[in-house]
Amino acid sequence: MSARSFVTSPAAALAARRGRGDERPPGEPRRIGYLYLLPALLVFGAFVLAPLVHAFWLSLFDWDGITAGHWVGLHNYQDVLSDQALRTAFGHALILLIFYAGLPVAIGLMLAGVIARVQVRGLPLFRVVLFLPQVVAMVVVAVMWRMIYDPGNGPINTALRGVGLDGLAKSWLGDFGVALPAVGLIGTWVMYGLAMVLLTAGVQKIPPSLYDAARVDGAGAVREFLAVTLPALRGEIAVALTLTTIAALRNFDLVYITTKGGPGDATSVPAFQVYQRAFETGKVGSAAAIGIVLAALIFTITVAINRVAERGTGARR
């Protein structure tokens, strides 16, 4: 039995919780279930739920981590909207969404559109290679790309100088104008393989009869893509967008290693602000609030994406 056949994404499960009558466990009533659940619940409760509640509690205080904190209510949350540094960080997160989620899904769709119309051999091999960036630790990826972007002897600048474009060579991660896109492109590099593999797997499940029908109707490549491929890939697009969006919002390792939020605050992102405020500048309450906002954002976006995808497959219910 393949693992593939039984799991849908957690977000999809959450989004789909209404309107499914068959969501009841098949077993008979059994008290012993609590016993099986208990160990997991204890660890999960102590190290996920309790910290989450505690984070919310901390977020209501102005606390430097050492002296007594004082109650500020929801002020730390207002700061997310009004504090310039935080607005900048969340703004950057939005821009990174284009690089982490937008570009990879677009690349994946482009490939899916072509593959829908032809037979391609060797796909499993391509898949293994395309997926490789996903399994390399983000810290390693960051160290690697710092070398690639190196202003002195990095291959990008070396190549530019080699063809006489010295003017274009720059300090990619140290330049106010290009540092954020430079970091974003690393995210694109990590995520596009996942999107491609996901979407090509989806395309291969589309019944060929749909394409035959479209061709009988005289649809061209573009019409076929819009009328058949795109709607059929709704579920896969939702999963791809969910995974890439979460990666974009959680982006800490990459920023910490490549730029530490700099130059200035050019690559500052919320996850980095959490770390900096909690452990470097003594704004623990604010850090906790940003963490909670991030969690809420991730939750809302995943559920929203999957609700939209669900609606599209309404016929199946």
Partner: protein, 272 residues
């Protein structure tokens, strides 16, 4: 448009993006084998100096970092796997009051990123005098891993034919025996996929280690690499060799079990 032309387009896209994916990785492997001493840049080439890996292992202390990562990863995977199987079994095949709401709490926890929990975790574990121990790395990671594992195993147990469980029960098998004797042989592929994902996530985790550990002897591989980068700016070769060492265990596992990796991640696996 002929289908032959479209086929070439498909191969071109696949080829270009596969190259883009693998070139940086090959680049860092080659860089790791260049003449040490500060002249090498990423992608430069002057032969193969494999000795760099040994020097990174010893001078860069990567042997110690790998040991820490190994201890943490194996512990997290072992604890989470067992507890997730038990909890997934309860959610998937038993009915008890509150099971629905409890399951949604797990599901919610699954989407909470480490960034949201790290601040209180640090202060809580410090108060318990657990920072700067392996426990500070193992327990929180096990918590998030169990959220994922429980979800994963529940999904598997729901696909098990009820008749199988019922037949075993009629034969008088206890729920414990049903789980380990009847269901586990079937669950092996699903469990392996889960373990592979949990191992990768734990091995690659950075923020938790950065916050919880100051003792050099406890540093995990990604954390050790980030410190190594900080104090070794001049010589790229050792840094590249260190990066390769850090990535290697998961990459090797990926080469052998790539189906499990891809299958697992394609199913939309997310973990906080």
């Amino acid at each position: 448009m002929t289908s032959r032309r479209e086929q070439s387009v498909a191969y071109a896209i696949l080829g270009v993006f596969s190259l883009l994916a693998i070139l940086p990785i090959l680049g860092i492997v080659v860089t790791a084998m260049q003449q040490p001493g500060g002249l090498a840049g990423f992608g430069s080439f002057d032969g193969f100096h494999v000795d760099n890996f040994r020097r990174a292992w010893e001078q860069g202390n990567f042997g110690s970092y790998l040991k820490s990562s190994g201890i943490v990863s194996v512990s997290v995977v072992a604890i989470s796997t067992v507890l997730s199987i038990l909890a997934g079994y309860a959610f998937g095949l038993m009915r008890f009051r509150g099971s629905e709401i409890l399951f949604y709490i797990f599901l919610l926890g699954l989407m909470v990123p480490m960034e949201a929990m790290i601040v209180p975790l640090y202060y809580d574990l410090r108060d318990l005098r657990l920072t700067d121990t392996y426990w500070a790395l193992i327990l929180p990671q096990a918590g998030t891993s169990i959220a994922f594992g429980t979800f994963w195993m529940r999904a598997f147990f729901r696909t098990v034919p009820r008749s199988l469980v019922e037949a075993a029960r009629i034969d008088g098998a206890s729920s414990w025996l049903v789980l380990w004797r009847v269901l586990m042989p079937l669950a092996r592929p699903a469990v392996l996929t889960m373990m592979v994902l949990l191992f990768m996530w734990t091995w690659n985790e950075f923020l938790l280690a950065l916050v919880m550990v100051t003792d050099e002897g406890l540093r995990t591989a990604p954390l050790g690499l980030s410190f190594f980068q900080g104090r070794n700016q001049a010589d790229l070769t050792l840094l590249a060799a260190g990066a390769c060492i850090v990535a290697l265990p998961v990459v090797v596992l990926y080469v052998f079990l790539q189906r499990h990796f891809i299958r697992g991640m394609l199913s939309g696996a997310v973990k906080g």
